[in-house]
Amino acid sequence: MENYGVYTARLAPKIDGLAPGHRACVGCGEALAVRIACKAMGENIIVSNATGCMEVVSSQLPVTAWDIPWIHTLFENAAAVASGVESALKVMVRKGRRPDKGTKAVAMAGDGGTSDIGLQALSGALERGHDLLFICFDNEAYMNTGIQRSSATPFGASTTTSPAGKKSIGQKTWKKNMPAIAVAHDIPYVATASPSYPFDMMEKVKKGLAVNGPAYIHVLSVCPTGWRSAPDLSVRLGRLAVQTGVFPLYEVENGKYKLSIDPSPLRPIQDYLKLQGRFRHLSEGMAKQIQDRVINEYEKLKQKCTCS
């Protein structure tokens, strides 16, 4: 629990955006993340959602879990659809065909719809400078189709397409640094967030929505099904990811890095790994390799924060 917590929880906005009755897995960290994001975004938004878990669990005909205007079309184009939404709002207000209510365009996608198949559309939207907020709900694999690896899957994690085996350590590559790619577009706001730190996350979502131009927020969304962890540990795992330095929380405002929560001294990586079945096969050597990398990356991040 960092800073706020007891009682402040009661002061958070009441609205959820996502109604109960959605079909997310028991203990879904992404459903929680979406709820928290929606609290911060309020009602005056239009959401474009990529294909993925959140789309499937929230919108099975004939009903919907969304209390806000929401559109899903395809897997790889959430940012492009949001570009269209934003442009339409702009021109219709300009032409007096719609009252100027300050409605904002938001795009949501999982790690696949963001850092793999959706990367091109996202890059295009960021580069064109649309006034939109893109939120990536990263659960570190293609969970919707049954836990296949993505470029956001962490090193060593066992998934159905990067299974651990006699000749396989699980995922062979290091997690793609998506926030850095967003930063490279020179957009006004980039941040990482976690629903396990809901107040920090709400603050960032509000900021991302308020800036004029594209904003990108990368949210770690714990997936008990894909991570093979106990459903009741979803919030805890989100915190441990931050405290171990695996997923540091920071923001980049106009290129300036700022650490949101400094968890140092970092917790040992095993505190995080041991709770997840996807890392059960890890050898000591590999765990050490991950530990070293995390410390190294964390130091690099801190450097960026002090430099800017």
Binding site: G5, E43, K101
Partner: protein, 218 residues
């Protein structure tokens, strides 16, 4: 349901809703500072049949500007008020600047402390509108360092920071350091000791129950 008109557009609103809520639910923007859905010291006007509201007439805009100029004089350094001023086209204030350390006496902090937290550590007793005077008194013994007042304060007059084993809360002209308790397992500072005492007392749990942080709890 009652019929109301906002800016010439007709709407239906549920009885006993506030005008602000009705406007907001139709995405009509009215600038506010201390309106809050749970704690409501302000913006209390209710809808009634036939009510006509203007949010952007010339008179409204000019009166809003004066109000903002007054706020700006009282809390010239508050980011929220600077933002509000910018948004409303207020560049400076004709009123004399006063130092109240960003406090505009909206009472949200006292309401929250009393109604939500239930400890009433911040009180209106000795409330003063004079410059350089304590606007609200904080009873440090009652305060549990939860930070709700800092969270809700719209003008950043109250701040909360954690550093090392200390949580510091700063209110206008008042400041208190709270020691943070260390988790017996991981050694991380996780919660103010004062809050543990409060929780133990309220929940009838033994103090040892709070020896470990949430993440080290079984």
């Amino acid at each position: 349901m009652v019929k109301i008109t906002i800016d010439g557009r007709e709407f239906e609103a549920k009885e006993k809703t506030k005008v602000l809520e009705a406007a907001k639910s139709h995405n009509i923007y009215i600038p506010t500072l201390c309106a809050h859905e749970r704690v409501v010291p302000s913006c209390l006007s209710m809808v009634e049949e036939g009510l006509a509201v203007q949010t952007n007439s010339e008179r409204v805009i000019s009166e809003r500007k004066v109000a903002i100029q007054k706020l700006l004089a009282r809390a010239p350094e508050s980011p929220a008020i600077k933002e509000l001023a910018k948004e409303s086209g207020v560049e400076s204030t004709p009123f004399p600047l006063e130092d109240h350390q960003n406090c505009v006496l909206c009472t949200l902090c006292t309401c929250v402390c009393q109604e939500v937290v239930g400890v009433s550590a911040i009180s209106k007793i000795n409330r003063s509108t004079e410059p350089n005077a304590i606007p609200y008194t904080v009873n440090f013994d009652a305060c549990i360092a939860c930070g709700s007042c800092a969270y809700i304060c719209p003008t950043d007059a109250i701040t909360l920071t954690d550093e090392g084993n200390t949580r510091t809360i700063i209110w206008p002209y008042q400041k208190k350091n709270f020691r943070l308790a260390k988790c017996k397992v991981c050694g991380r500072c996780w919660i103010p000791e004062r809050q543990i005492e409060y929780m133990a007392e309220k929940s009838n749990q033994p103090l040892e129950f709070f020896d470990t942080c949430l993440d080290c709890r079984r």
